[in-house]
Symmetry: D3
Subunit: 135 residues, 6 copies
């Protein structure tokens, strides 16, 4: 079994804001991340798949196909978007990096080729903060 | 003469949108960057100063003092903000990285110690795009 | 279960020197790392915690709180220090990156919130050498 | 148990080309990677070993010794080489990053000290694509 | 005046080999870089343009347009190619990074918008070696 | 004219301490950097040379020769050393990054080939602080 990882990039705006709480409570818990006018990030997304290598190609999976899949199922729905307002798969959830990583997993898992398993979604929110989700 | 550079970081939301144009014209020129719901970035800011070294300290300038100055005059006004809505020194200007770099220069230049000159503001909008301004 | 990682930084001096050995034996085993006058590094410290996400915040744990904990329990005891002379939790141990990573684990583990587990301490000694400890 | 990782670098040419297929089939499957005149990469190789720490040295294993081993058993056979033509341990295999990572594992595993286990070979083909092999 | 930089990436094979010299002389001068079977690199290309900012857009130049220009005039002629065999603008020249940077400059300079000047082509051959050309 | 840059690495200990001042004055000016027991850094050194390209080689200068020169004249005198105690060319000077960069310049400039000029010494003290010296 080998593991293959592809890095993709997207930019987005968001805020950390629980609509069931007062403005004061949001600011107490989330600090500057609760700014009502939004802030944003360059997200770096590492997607890792695992499985057996095909003898004819030497590939676990064509990495161009993996990149295209991530672009179509994830990046085009997140890039240059507002994560709180524009993303159906995050509707009703807090816009944390944790929930975003789990949401990305759900978008990818039904579309991978049958011989390949999704292993990890790793998402950098800043160069010093990242989340990993293994399903 | 030596050059000293300090890297600081901030996150912000913005959109590229000219209020004198129609929505269609904005989308034609700025594409996804014109998303009315905003997007955002992790900005990496390199500030370079130049001058002579002090014999007693070996410093052009104490880099902690430079960092504090950038924090107070720039970062606290930009970090976790909406560049179009929350930043007085960008009011009435297009929120491009070019204008942001030039605006940051203006915030810093009056506050540097007398023996030091501001040399360059270098601003990464994404890991693959940056702007430099030398005054 | 999700995994959250925070990167922190510290600078320190150390040497690799076993006080039970002769100078010659130390130099034979540790080479330039045994320089009696010390050398030093910029250490990059990645701390990973794991657990369940809170529905109200979307957080495994507030990353600012994690950063503060690492600062208070680890960084302020190591940053700009001599690892052989200034750090009680390394007293009597060889100052290797392996022992440093294990020592950092011990400093953090009693102070994490009850719903969160420490998963990994990853410590870069140089950009090309790192150690991981999983407890 | 601790994990120690060393990063080494090599440059090489290769092509993805199955000699049992027609040129057309190769181009259909491998695209530009099938260019008969070759292309190439800067490969970044992370080798991770694991085991117990020695009390006298504080080391899992001397990282200089690990580096030397990787240089002698791997890098000198791959650096500035053509992976399809010049590398005996890849003969008869497709020159994918997956097969290269697995081949590197085979070169290293017989030569590690008895108290240390090989844990992972991680190989970057580009800054955005990497493969991991755990044996 | 502001400076705008865009980073693009390509992979290619090459060798350093002067056809007017014997094999021995080539190996004496170029060492492993003269391997007749080629080697290769991941090249990182930074293109910097300079000029005045447009008041309506806040742009020196649309960075997407700059990226497209680099892709069309440079990357598609170099990516996954053999620099010695496949690249008309390098024909008859030594395939050094210096000559490659100067050749890239020549490809770009006629195609920039009239209000913008090419300032610098910076080309990384490896993460530790780069060349800059300012015309 | 082209510019060629080579990156080299060294680790060292130092402190910022003016022997003409009291301990209190040193701590007031240099803070934690004045720790009498030393601290240290991973220094990243970029050396840039400039000149004309040789038609037979395509080189400004053989980068392996540049690397060897930096190793012999600079790195072997600084790597795994105490900058205050072990480095003759820093004797009697404050051990700042500014003075270190200027000292490195002096070590290199007499040894470059006649057709090549030293352009810049750029020295990272941490990933967020660097100094440049152009002579």
């Amino acid at each position: 079994m080998v593991y293959l990882t592809r890095l993709e990039h997207f930019n987005a705006a968001h805020k950390l804001y629980n609509p069931n709480w007062s403005k004061e409570q949001n600011e107490a818990v989330f600090g500057v991340c609760a700014n009502e006018n939004w802030h944003g990030h360059n997200f770096e997304l590492f997607v890792t798949v695992k499985g057996e290598v095909d003898a004819d190609t030497g590939f676990l999976m064509d990495v161009k196909q993996l990149s295209k899949l991530i672009q179509e199922k994830v990046i085009k729905h997140l890039d240059h978007k507002n994560l709180n307002l524009d993303v159906p798969f995050l509707a009703g959830k807090m816009c944390s990096t944790e929930n975003l990583a789990m949401g990305i997993w759900e978008q990818l898992v039904p579309h991978l080729p049958a011989h390949v398993q999704l292993h990890c979604v790793k998402l950098y929110e800043t160069p010093r903060i990242y989340v990993e989700y293994f399903g």
